[in-house]
């Protein structure tokens, strides 16, 4: 590879090319103009980079996430200094919490003005230090290409995450030497991919002896890639064990398979949470014992041995002490596990497993996701069930905002493939769904992309409708409209004696007219018997649609493990919610 002389701005584009980046999301401004100038010059070449102009940098960050989460590639965004960076912070934090690979290139004021409170100056690396996996301020043009290559490496390897490269404007103009990615190696960051084989054997012995086992899988399986997903399916079928998944892990194992017992956690199924509570062996694959999953930590799965597969050593024993930690990439660990299982001819403990399944089937009979139907008003659960039934024969990508609709989507929409379910889990970012849907649609132009939204969340990034129209991205926004910030209302009902403090939206826009104002199609449905027709109309329309699904206002998400309670203390419906929540529980979120 010949080292070439070029400007900083050209280096950025050259690095994109070298890392197979053909799509970026961004918003121009003073401190990134040299890079935008190169984008303009490049427009007439054979393979210009596709730049999607967002309407707010938060939109760029979530679109990059939607692109990354739906494709498994690195999401790339380009923003200017000052407000460009501060507006990106929410998306970077979101990507940090859910381990999503993002490279954010930000402009900075020229080096001689740094520290002078110059126009649109902010301490970008200082502000983003806690919300990125790593970040860099480039102070020398000859460091730029190395830093760009390191940025892509750090973002996508190990436990993925967002990174930021802050490039002062004078560096963008300067000329220096570009070195290719193949000659750049990060000096110390080498995540371990393969787990210790003796420890894998220890884990397999536990698996062979288990009487009441359960797989508990998370987003790490999806991050690890398609091989991990296939190996997980093979291993789960090999053992015949029940499997449950976190919110982020949905789709890694088919949602309609008989071994899958539903999502676990605060709004998980009765059978999944009871099985977690009573199991004697828990096999955690790429999940992190999040507080939404464990409930009361002292009473979390008290009688089980625990195996934990994670690429991030700091996840091990962070919250729950485990018996066999397997530090490595999910795909590598599962591959070695399956090989060893077969070569050592391990057998599962068949008779107790049969009994275990009988117990689980009993729990299933509770039918914890049942809900009452109504002739006159649409139940939100019914709306999502119909949406699923009418779209399940297609390869659909679903994004969500955050709140009740998100939980109902997780409960009633079933995913059979990874990367089809794109939701803000760790940070819980309202406003995530629409820009994420735009990113997913960009990655999959011919697929159906639906943002299942709430009427409150959607208004947080509604400006991105304009992005969808400009770039002809036919995203469908399916709003579960109950006029409340539903999850806030539900907590106020359960924890604050129904004092609905500021959770009702009194002046909602007319979503049909709003759609039309942007140049999209608007559909409103208020009656259950009009729902199917409306959904079909939405699917068939070639362009963005806002679907205003007016639903029952007082519906709550059940089952629910109230804050501070254990897995076996679930509320199954309105009739059980009389029980007091302790002061200790009220403090939790």
């Amino acid at each position: 590879m010949v080292n070439i002389q070029m400007t900083g701005a050209q280096m950025v584009l050259k690095a994109f090319e070298d890392h197979q980046v053909d799509t970026i999301f961004g918003y121009p401004g003073g401190a990134v103009l040299p890079i935008y100038d190169e984008l303009a010059k490049e427009r007439d070449t054979n393979q210009p980079i596709r730049h999607y102009l967002v309407r707010h940098e938060q939109g760029a960050s979530h679109s990059a996430e939607g692109y990354a989460r739906s494709s498994g590639k690195v999401g790339v965004m380009l923003v200017t200094s000052g407000p460009g960076v501060t507006n990106s912070v929410t998306g970077l934090t979101d990507a940090m919490m859910d381990s999503i690979p993002i490279v954010c290139i930000s402009g900075q004021v020229p080096t001689h003005l740094i520290g002078t409170d110059a126009f649109q100056e902010c301490d970008a690396v200082g502000i983003t230090r806690p919300c990125t996996k790593h970040n860099w301020l480039v102070k020398d043009i000859n460091d730029l290409s190395r830093i760009l290559h390191e940025a892509f490496y750090v973002a996508s390897s190990g436990r993925p995450g967002p990174v930021l490269v802050d490039i002062p404007k004078d560096i963008q103009f300067q000329t220096g030497t570009y070195i290719g990615p193949e000659t750049v190696k990060h000096k110390s960051y080498r995540p371990k991919l393969k787990a210790n084989i003796d420890q894998i054997d220890d884990a397999l012995k536990l698996i062979a002896d288990a009487e009441k086992p359960i797989f508990y899988t998370g987003g790490g399986v999806i991050n690890s890639g398609n091989a991990a997903v296939q190996l997980l399916r093979e291993f789960v079928r090999l053992t015949g064990f029940p499997i449950t998944s976190t919110l982020q892990g949905l789709g890694a194992y088919p949602g309609d398979d008989s071994q899958f017992i539903g999502m676990l956690g605060m709004h998980g199924t009765y059978e999944a949470n009871m099985a977690m509570n009573e199991c004697d062996l828990m096999i955690n694959i790429g999940a992190r014992f999040d507080d939404r999953i464990t409930g009361k930590i002292d009473e979390f799965s008290p009688n089980s041995k625990k195996i934990h597969i994670d690429i991030d050593p700091s996840s091990i024993n962070k919250i729950v002490k485990v018996d066999v930690p397997l530090i490595g990439d999910v795909a590598h660990v599962l591959e070695d596990s399956i090989k060893l299982w077969k070569s050592k001819v391990y057998k599962i403990n068949k008779t107790p497993l049969k009994e275990w399944w009988k117990t689980i089937d009993k729990w299933k009979e509770k039918d914890s996701l049942k809900f009452d139907r109504d002739k006159n008003t649409i139940k939100p659960q019914y709306a999502i069930q119909r949406l699923y039934d009418l779209t399940k024969d297609k390869d659909v990508f679903v994004t969500t905002e955050v709140g009740q609709h998100q939980m109902w989507a997780a409960q009633y929409y079933k995913f059979s493939k990874p990367n089809r379910w794109i939701t803000s889990g760790g940070l819980g970012t309202m406003g995530f769904g629409l820009p994420a849907a735009i990113g997913a649609q960009v990655a999959h132009p011919d697929k159906l992309v639906i943002d299942i939204a709430g009427e409150a969340s959607i208004l947080m990034c509604i400006q991105e409708m304009s992005t969808a129209i400009q770039h002809k991205l036919p995203v469908k926004i399916f709003i579960i409209n109950n006029q409340y910030m539903g999850m806030v209302r539900q907590w106020q009902e359960l924890l604050h004696d129904k004092r609905y403090s500021h959770s009702y939206t009194d002046a909602l826009p007319d979503f049909v007219k709003l759609a039309e104002a942007y140049g999209a199609k608007g559909i409103r449905v208020q009656k259950p018997n009009e729902l199917d027709k409306g959904i079909n109309e939405m699917i068939e329309y070639d362009g963005p649609v806002i679907f205003d699904c007016v639903v029952e206002q007082n519906e709550n998400v059940y089952p629910m493990i109230p804050s501070g309670k254990a897995h076996n203390e679930m509320l199954l419906g309105d009739e059980t919610k009389k029980e007091e929540i302790s002061d200790e529980g009220k403090v939790l979120v």
Binding site: P130, H134, L137, K187, P313, S315, N317
Partner: protein
């Protein structure tokens, strides 16, 4: 695991690059941990590796959690609890200024001998002592100097290393 709050000494090996100290202490303060003392210096000039030694109060569990989180920082190569009670050796240096005359001045000189402190500056009314040792020894010396005209103290903070052949 022990629920008792005590002082823990944590050694962190890092790539010596811009901002690395800010990353380490930003993480510690951002998660609500306190720092009693902090030292940092490059220990391998060729490979550009620095060693940061942090003394922080906490239960064993909170300190272990802090170490896990430190290990997530990309330029952090290793982090470990090297607390004295386990297997580490801890040393600190202090400069202690005494301003006094007469019997008190003589007494401070006598005590400094017991502690093997060196006099590195003197006037008719003052001494500056240099003292090396464990943090406890330095605490004891400072306590003894208080009634003898203790005027000012400057301490380096703790550096620590494991005993024997063990390497971090």
């Amino acid at each position: 695991m022990s629920e008792i709050v005590s002082k823990h000494t944590v050694s962190v090996l890092v790539d010596n690059e811009p901002g690395v100290l800010a990353r380490v202490i930003g993480l510690i303060s951002g998660r609500g941990y306190n720092i009693d003392s902090l030292t940092v210096a490059e220990v391998d000039a060729e490979k550009h590796i620095s060693r940061i030694t942090i003394v922080a109060p906490g239960t064993e569990q909170t300190v272990n959690k802090m170490i896990s989180q430190l290990q997530r920082i990309v330029p952090v190569k290793r982090a470990a609890n090297v607390t004295f009670e386990k297997q580490g050796i801890e040393r600190e240096m202090a400069l202690v200024k005494i301003v006094s005359t007469g019997e008190k001045r003589v007494e401070s000189m006598r005590l400094s001998d017991v502690f093997r402190a060196r006099v590195i500056d003197t006037t008719h009314d003052s001494f500056v002592f240099e003292l090396n040792g464990s943090p406890r020894k330095i605490d004891a010396f400072i306590d003894l100097m208080k009634p003898l005209g203790l005027s000012e103290v400057s301490r380096t903070g703790v550096v620590a290393i494991a005993r024997g052949t063990e390497k971090m």
